[in-house]
């Protein structure tokens, strides 16, 4: 049904289906474009901005841009990589991330990106915001210190009627992602697990659960994020 199109990423000839989102199309060709708010199968919402590339010279998020014939894409450039690193740093300093004590450490996409982009000390001052851990729901704990407001949970975790368990609150720098009390009180264990897994960081935790895998064997412990795509 779909047409094949040719496009170029950093000089590499690529091919994919017309209209496929660039992040996925690049992946088909063994090219990794970093993502954070994107989640396969969910409607993209370009909110983290880390997948920003240049398409025909213009900045655009790869997770929301469909590919078309003849596109010229810049991805792995010094300019783009530097800003990506800045974005990672922004997300670290705007929350409270103490990785050694975090349940998600080793499976966390933000942490993994920090390593991949060789973040040492962030250039920006730490905000040390005062945020409460919301442990008032029966199945999950919402760790507000670690939420990066990527909206994955908002887009992915819904009930049968399409109502969202999670939503934004406030705006601008005061934004928070909060959970619905009524829906939460009836959340199934499977849904809770799904929510934890959809979260790229350790902001949604299933109650009374530490971890399954020991440190050293977790997803990003031995190979950098993205290498699974690049080494395919």
């Amino acid at each position: 049904m779909s047409n094949k199109v040719k496009f170029v990423i950093d000089g590499k000839e690529c091919q994919s289906d017309e209209g496929k989102y660039l992040v996925e199309a690049a992946k088909d060709n063994g090219v990794y474009i970093p993502t954070l708010c994107n989640y396969e199968g969910l409607k993209p919402k370009g909110s983290c901005r880390i997948c920003t590339v240049k398409i025909n010279g213009r900045l655009a998020t790869a997770c929301t841009s469909p590919v078309h014939e003849g596109m010229k894409i810049e991805n792995y450039t010094a300019e783009l990589n530097e800003v990506r690193k800045e974005i990672i740093e922004l997300l670290f300093v705007s929350g409270n991330h103490f990785c050694p004590a975090c349940e998600k450490s080793g499976n966390c996409e933000l942490q993994a990106l920090g390593y991949r982009y060789e973040m040492m000390a962030p250039r920006f001052p730490f905000a040390f915001p005062i945020r409460e851990v919301d442990a008032s729901y029966p199945r999950i704990i919402k760790e507000q210190n670690r939420c990066i407001l990527c909206k994955r949970c908002m887009r992915g975790i819904k009930d049968e009627d399409g109502k969202s368990y999670f939503a934004y609150k406030n705006r601008g720098k005061d934004s928070l992602v909060v959970a619905d009390r009524k829906l939460m009180s009836a959340m199934s264990p499977d849904k809770a697990k799904e929510a934890m897994e959809i979260c790229p960081v350790g902001s949604i935790l299933v109650r009374e659960k530490g971890w399954d895998e020991p440190i050293g064997t977790r997803k990003y412990d031995n190979a950098p994020i993205g290498s699974e795509i690049e080494n395919k």
Partner: protein, 598 residues
């Protein structure tokens, strides 16, 4: 309370898309939206409660608790500050016994800040219970608070004359002044309602689009996109259900020209929408207008009724069989970002005003997913004149690349602030002479998202060749402290108004502000100036124009006034943490009655 709310929801047929109207109506009836009814409202609309909270908490003017029998929203834009807002604010606090951000203990008076309310030529201004108060002074504030204590309705508090023009009409009765300083050849060309529309229906819809294309009319909302081309894109869509939106959000600080157009010539704007409707075959139009202009509501609704009576809206309009077009007015609830076209659509669909990812553009997938044309108030008014007098008449005005005229909103340090319709192509220098401004230190062109230019740049010209702008100019006299009064104010504006979706725009402006504070506090070093420039760059990676321009106040002021920054930073050291020990422990020292030894 419950029954009132239920009735309102029923009135809008439990339609989730009408959430803005539902919330605004509830607030109008009850003064606030009682939080304990949120679950019920959500259930009625088949959404989760957090989805409802998400919308309510987004909008500045929606509140979940009572904010006083009299709620004062005092504008905090830069021009208000220049016109002694501090004194007005202090007087409000002294007289009412409550600090800003709070409600008095007896529940009588609430005092709050708000972003620019479109009155920059008559500041300081405030909205009290939806009534505009302009040109405030401490004397006047004392009278107002005394009236509040007597329980006088706000409508009866006026001691000034009404503002003239339609502002004085029965349906408006506002002290707001038009300050029309110059009537130009396009907007003030003599006008009979319906003449543009009647002419357009003698043409094929495609020819109407062609005529607008030939006029080289470009959007007057700021971005300057060619209007005819936008209409053509919309027309190309396979979807036949289409919408025309008028963008009357006018939130860019220092801009108030759309308010004057809507006050003096609303029929022209509505007629422009109908012409657009005819051109692309749309049957409904929506005017999205900012909450701050609620005082115009009765008047605008009445204007629509008059047009319906005159058969210029409704069914088979202007005598053309099968040409149906009607307009409804959608109020916002306090969010600058809702002027951004895709955020505007989200808001009009009853959601948070968060911009959408593009593509797709509104002309492909807009309101409720249907092709939608969004044009600025001024753009639509001009359409009528172009159809009436022809594209050549229009292109003969202005310059090569910038056809026609622009309505400017001019405020700040000058003798004649107000609106001026001029042809494109004048230099800023001309403008300053026109408005009576001397000893100018700087001019902000295009509002906070525009640029701050210095006296060497006054020969620069208004027009898409050089300074294409939404038309706001704010003038700063030599005596002004640009960084403290202007750059800081604008940066705070962007922090306040970011929707919070992008990692960049949500976080970076705040970090820049802290840096700016460090410099203003005397702790800055040269590196800090460079950091400001470098750190602003990630904002270009944001989703929408707000993020893209949020660094502009800082970047353009460093470009054009670097010496002011250099004067503030320390020359003798290249590193300073900005940490002040004595200041940090001051409070605890005072509490424990000890002094510091460092």
């Amino acid at each position: 309370m419950k029954t009132t709310v239920n009735k309102i929801i029923k009135k809008y047929k439990n339609d989730r898309y009408r959430l803005m109207d539902i919330l605004l109506d509830i607030q109008e009836e009850l003064g606030y939206i009682p939080e304990d009814l949120n679950q019920m409202i959500a259930d009625e609309l088949s959404i989760s409660k957090v989805e409802l909270d998400e919308t309510i908490s987004f909008y500045h003017f929606l509140t979940q608790k009572p904010l006083g029998e009299y709620t004062v929203y005092l504008n905090n834009s830069v021009t208000a500050g220049m016109m002694f807002r501090e004194d007005v604010k202090k007087t409000f606090e002294e007289q009412s016994g409550v600090l800003f951000g709070n409600v008095s203990s007896d529940g009588l008076i609430g005092l709050f800040d708000t972003s620019c309310i479109g009155m920059s030529d008559q500041e300081p201004a405030a909205i009290i219970n939806n009534v505009m108060f302009t040109n405030l002074t401490p004397f006047r504030v004392k009278e107002i608070v005394a009236d509040m204590k007597e329980g006088k309705p706000v409508e009866e508090m006026h001691k000034q004359n009404f503002g003239g023009g339609k502002n004085s009409s029965d349906l408006i009765q506002a002290v707001v002044k038009n300050n029309i300083r110059r009537k130009g050849p396009v907007l003030w060309d003599p006008y009979e309602p319906g003449e543009g529309l009647r002419k357009s229906i003698t043409m094929e819809p495609g020819d109407v689009i062609e005529e607008i294309k030939n006029s080289h009319l470009r959007g007057r909302g700021g971005a300057g996109f060619p209007t005819g081309l936008k209409w053509e894109f919309c027309n190309k869509s396979r979807e036949k259900e289409r919408y025309i939106f008028c963008n009357a959000d006018e939130g860019e600080p220092g801009t108030f020209k759309d308010r004057v157009i809507l006050t003096e010539m609303p029929k022209m704007v509505f007629e422009g929408m109908a012409i657009a409707g005819y051109a692309v075959g749309a049957k409904s139009g929506v005017v999205y207008i900012r909450y701050e202009y609620l005082y115009l509501r009765k008047y605008l609704e009445n204007t629509l009724s008059e047009l319906r009576k005159a058969k210029l809206l409704g069914r088979n309009i202007a005598g053309k069989n099968g040409f149906d077009f009607d307009i409804r007015i959608q109020y916002g609830a306090g969010a600058y970002i809702c002027g951004e076209e895709s955020a505007l659509l989200e808001s009009a669909e009853g959601k948070r005003g968060e911009p959408r990812d593009r593509p797709p553009f509104p002309v492909e997938k807009g309101f409720k997913g249907k092709p939608t044309i969004i044009n600025n108030v001024e753009t639509l008014a001009k359409v009528v004149k172009i159809i009436k007098k022809g594209s050549t008449w229009f292109t003969n005005l202005g310059t090569q690349e910038s056809a026609g005229t622009k309505l400017l909103s001019i405020s700040g340090d000058c003798r004649f602030p107000g609106v001026y319709e001029i042809e494109w192509g004048h230099s800023i220098y001309d403008i300053l002479e026109m408005v009576g401004a001397t000893d100018v230190q700087a001019v902000q062109v295009g509002g906070p998202s525009g640029i701050l230019i210095n006296p060497n740049q006054l020969p620069r010209k208004l027009g898409y060749e050089d300074l294409g702008t939404g038309g706001s100019l704010i003038i700063f006299h030599e005596s002004r402290n640009l960084i403290r009064e202007v750059v800081m104010n604008f940066t705070e504006f962007f922090i306040e108004e970011s929707c919070g979706s992008c990692s960049t725009c949500r976080n970076t402006p705040f970090i820049l502000k802290q840096k700016l504070e460090k410099i203003l506090d005397g702790h800055g070093v040269v590196q800090d100036i460079d950091d400001l420039v470098e750190w602003s760059k990630n904002l270009k990676f944001s989703r929408c124009g707000l993020g893209h321009t949020a660094g502009n106040p800082i970047i353009t002021s460093i470009q054009n006034f670097r010496h002011l920054y250099e004067k503030l930073v320390q020359r003798d050291r290249d590193y300073d943490t900005g940490f002040n020990l004595a200041e940090s422990v001051k409070e605890s020292c005072e509490a424990s009655n000890r002094s510091t030894v460092v």
